[in-house]
Assembly symmetry: C2
Homo-oligomer: 139 residues x 2
DNA sequence: CTCCAATTGTAGCAATTGCTACAGTTGTGT
DNA sequence: ACACAACTGTAGCAATTGCTACAATTGGAG
């Protein structure tokens, strides 16, 4: 493996991250909405992400093809078992990153901003360490 | 501002991040290559990012429109003053994130991977704290 | 039941980032 | 000087994620 090829590995992972990032965000948001309300509709997600309902529609379509959500025309959106697992994982990861940022003294607004961007790029290894550190610093 | 609208702010920032992320990656890579060699060519970047030269060509084109790089047909790529400033900022930020990850005990390979993904999503506030923490932990 | 507002779906556009295939340049070696 | 290899550019395709404008559905109010 050449040096350049080795260096390119992180970028390749970043590309993969971006492919799944939207799926993770949406599944996480759907889980959050279904916690507060009984139904999750395209409109709710459009408001949440501040995009048009058309954009949401097509992303939900893709998520359905990937087996993460279920929906029928003009009907609300629900999570499949696979979708629920992914949502659970994402929310846990998000919470850990957010708590870590708070633990090191970042204000809530900035922590929320940064957590949203960072969460998708944290490996399990790093996530574990952040969790430990948050506990040490908070405890 | 509704609750949903408030929640959507981090996602909006994530979208902005993605728009500039590529520019930052490329400018940073160009600076790195120009440190080691006398010229930076499309081929070098294509190897670095493991994409086709066509993809690089169009991204470099965009960077030139944004005033970050300079290049003429069939000629090497150089950074403008603006590009150099951006590269410098990115490299510093990258270094801080990477060092922080090492300081908390992440192995070099994982740290390199995670730093690449995380760096673009760290606010100045958080970056400063990570720098402080890395110094404390490293002693 | 009918009509209307809200919601969802569809058509069609743009920008970005990938690709392959092919065409044009450049510079080196003979 | 010329040929060839390496590099760069162009054409044209696909997927993703944005949008507006318009069509269709649903469900509730009257």
């Amino acid at each position: 493996m050449t040096e350049a090829a080795w260096d390119s590995e992180p970028h390749q992972r970043t590309r993969r991250d971006h492919t799944t990032e939207k799926a993770e965000d949406y599944v996480e948001a759907i889980a959050d909405i279904l916690d507060k309300q009984d139904t999750c509709r395209i409109t709710h997600l459009a408001k949440q992400f501040a995009v048009s309902h058309v954009t949401v529609h097509r992303i939900v379509e893709r998520l359905q093809n990937e087996g993460l959500v279920m929906t029928k025309p003009y009907q609300p959106i629900t999570l499949t078992a696979k979708g629920k697992r992914l949502a659970s994982m994402c929310r846990q990861r998000h919470k850990i990153v957010y708590r870590f940022l708070l633990a090191i003294g970042i204000d809530e607004i900035t922590a929320a901003m940064d957590a949203e961007g960072i969460e998708h790029h944290v490996s399990p290894t790093t996530l574990k360490r952040l969790e430990e550190l948050a506990e040490e610093l908070a405890g």
